[in-house]
């Protein structure tokens, strides 16, 4: 009487997904996401998209803040989606760090993990929780993406395959970018005993690593390519891409996520619960 491993993973990820809709903590997450995206769409995307819809902008289109090439953004079928793409690339990793911090540690400090580990392997538990977090983030991302599409239709966009394809691209690529951040929080959650400590350590790691590399690169320029290995290193390049342009930059987050998950599994197998 054993449940196949894939069924265990699916059940565990469903539990995490239900947490979003059935618990107070989940409702708070939903409310915070909706409120944040309402403010962004209403007060940032609406005025900027109206500005970008003006054909005269093509004349003066150039780099903004040295990061974003407005000319590339104008290649998107609708400016609402291109702006959503930029915001999602920047904000979603932060949300992933905040929302997926308690994957393991919350249940370990409460002792609930002990009830699960009598029935499933630790690797199934960790991977199930990881997939559950992706399911939650995918749901939140889909909700905000639908809101952006609704905004585009409200501003006169016509329903087209190109528009839907661009929306699907947004969802898939942002989700792939979230992988290493969610896997990093799996690792932090295995190492530490509280969500707060996990978030704090993740912030330290994500902000201190570039500084350390910068100092090292100053003395040994040979370490400069390592900047390209940091979590989220591909995000600036993706900001200036348009739908389905290239999958190449996504090999990095997938590889990072696999490495971090392997490290999480190794640590989890050896830790007492």
């Amino acid at each position: 009487m054993h449940l196949p491993a894939w069924s265990q993973l699916w059940l565990l990820s469903q539990i995490e997904w239900q947490r979003l809709f059935l618990t107070r903590r989940g409702w708070l997450t939903l409310a915070a996401s909706c409120l944040l995206w309402f403010v962004l769409l209403r007060y940032l995307v609406v005025p900027l998209s109206q500005w970008m819809l003006d054909p005269a902008i093509l004349e003066g289109a150039e780099m903004v803040a040295g990061w974003v090439d407005v000319r590339q953004l104008l290649l998107w079928p609708r400016p609402e989606l291109s702006l959503y793409w930029l915001l999602a690339l920047v904000l979603s990793p932060m949300a992933a760090v905040l929302f997926s911090a308690g994957q393991i540690c919350r249940d370990r400090s409460r002792g609930t993990l002990r009830l699960y580990c009598l029935r499933i392997s630790r690797s199934s538990l960790l991977l199930g929780r990881f997939l559950g977090q992706l399911l939650v983030q995918g749901t939140l991302l889909a909700l905000t993406l639908v809101a952006s599409l609704a905004l585009a239709f409200w501003q006169g966009a016509a329903l087209s395959l190109e528009l839907l394809s661009a929306a699907l691209f947004c969802w898939v690529f942002v989700m792939l970018c979230l992988l290493p951040f969610t896997a990093l929080m799996s690792l932090m959650s295995v190492w530490l005993n509280s969500s707060r400590a996990a978030v704090s350590l993740a912030i330290v790691v994500l902000s201190v690593l570039p500084v350390v590399l910068g100092v090292l690169a100053y003395y040994w320029p040979g370490v400069l390519p390592l900047f390209g290995w940091l979590p989220g290193a591909q995000i600036p390049a993706l900001m200036n891409s348009f739908p389905w342009q290239s999958w190449a930059p996504l090999a990095l987050p997938v590889g990072q996520a696999l490495l971090l998950l392997a490290l999480s599994l190794y640590s989890f197998e050896r830790r007492g619960i």
Binding site: L22, L115, C117, R119, G272
Partner: protein, 301 residues
């Protein structure tokens, strides 16, 4: 009898403190087994090792023929870990069903099992409640319920009645007695009265080793008599005249321990009751053998 637990040279340290030291232990299927010992003696550590929650520093732990923590034990080993709590944000029945599903049951079977175990711990009425709404004792009963999901061959219970009211503690003892026909319970507790009632064998842990193993067999040569009044001097002179009487000892103000020759006076207890009745001396309890407390702590072992 089948060997359920086999530990060889088990050592576990936390920092510099060795909690278990070269512990050898075999537990066979049968009547419930008690695990006793002072705080810090290593009871919870031993149970955690058996469940695979922690790894030993040295030695070998096999449970039901598999290494502790092996996925092969899924559904065969049930446990009430110390202080393990359910997620307070979800309902009782929902979480038990998840555990049952993870244990490999179908959706219908998991619902049926959930109802069964909730009934066993008298929580049927609370099935839809969230765990956050339960009292401490109810949460404990819920944690016991999950240990009984399915048909485990071995159930490890760490302090099962701590925090339970007397009514539910008794109900749990009855439940364990009933279920112990089909599975073996290992119970860690400080409540010797409870263990005395439930367990066939008592293992005493001290300084990381099994110091003593007591088989709870009926000792026919000793009777314990608990009286209603302290005035028992007249009784003692009558007892001395009974055939087979050897000696008496006052173990507490109202309790006498009587030794007799079981060979020549196999009906000593009947004679004693007749004397009590004739003299109109009230008594609360008459039991055979030494108490577990006496066996463990007064044996000089």
């Amino acid at each position: 009898m089948t060997v359920l637990v086999d530990c060889q040279g088990l050592t576990k340290r936390f920092g510099h403190k060795a909690v278990l030291q070269q512990l050898d232990l075999q537990i066979r299927a049968g009547a419930p087994i008690a695990l006793v010992g002072a705080n810090g003696a290593g009871k919870t550590t031993l149970l955690s090792l058996l469940c695979g929650y922690i790894q030993p520093d040295h030695g070998r732990v096999e449970v039901l023929g598999h290494q502790a923590g092996s996925p092969a034990l899924n559904g065969r080993l049930g446990a009430l870990p110390q202080d393990a709590q359910f997620d307070p944000d979800f309902g009782l029945a929902r979480q038990l069903q998840w555990l049952a599903r993870l244990q490999g049951m179908s959706a219908a079977k998991s619902r049926q099992e959930t109802e069964r175990v909730l009934a066993l711990v008298d929580l049927t009425a609370e099935a839809g409640s969230k765990v956050a709404q339960l009292s401490h004792g109810m949460r404990k009963r819920l944690a016991i319920a999950q240990a009984l999901l399915g048909e485990p061959e071995l159930v490890l219970l760490d302090e099962p009645t701590a925090g339970l009211d007397p009514l539910h503690a008794k109900a749990l003892r009855d439940c364990i007695q009933r279920l112990s026909k089909d599975c073996t319970f290992v119970i860690s507790s400080h409540n010797l009265f409870e263990l005395e009632q439930l367990c066939g064998t008592v293992l005493m842990l001290e300084q990381g080793r099994i110091r003593q193993q007591v088989a709870q067999v009926s000792e026919a040569a000793v009777l314990r008599l608990q009286l209603c009044q302290e005035n028992y001097q007249s009784l003692l002179s009558l007892l001395a005249q009974l055939p087979g009487f050897v000696s008496w000892q006052c173990t507490s103000p109202l309790q006498l321990e009587l030794q007799y020759d079981a060979v020549t006076a196999s009906d000593f207890d009947v004679q004693l009751l007749q004397v009590l009745h004739q003299q109109g001396i009230g008594y609360r309890q008459l039991s055979r053998g030494q108490s577990l407390e006496q066996q463990l702590f007064q044996s000089g072992g």
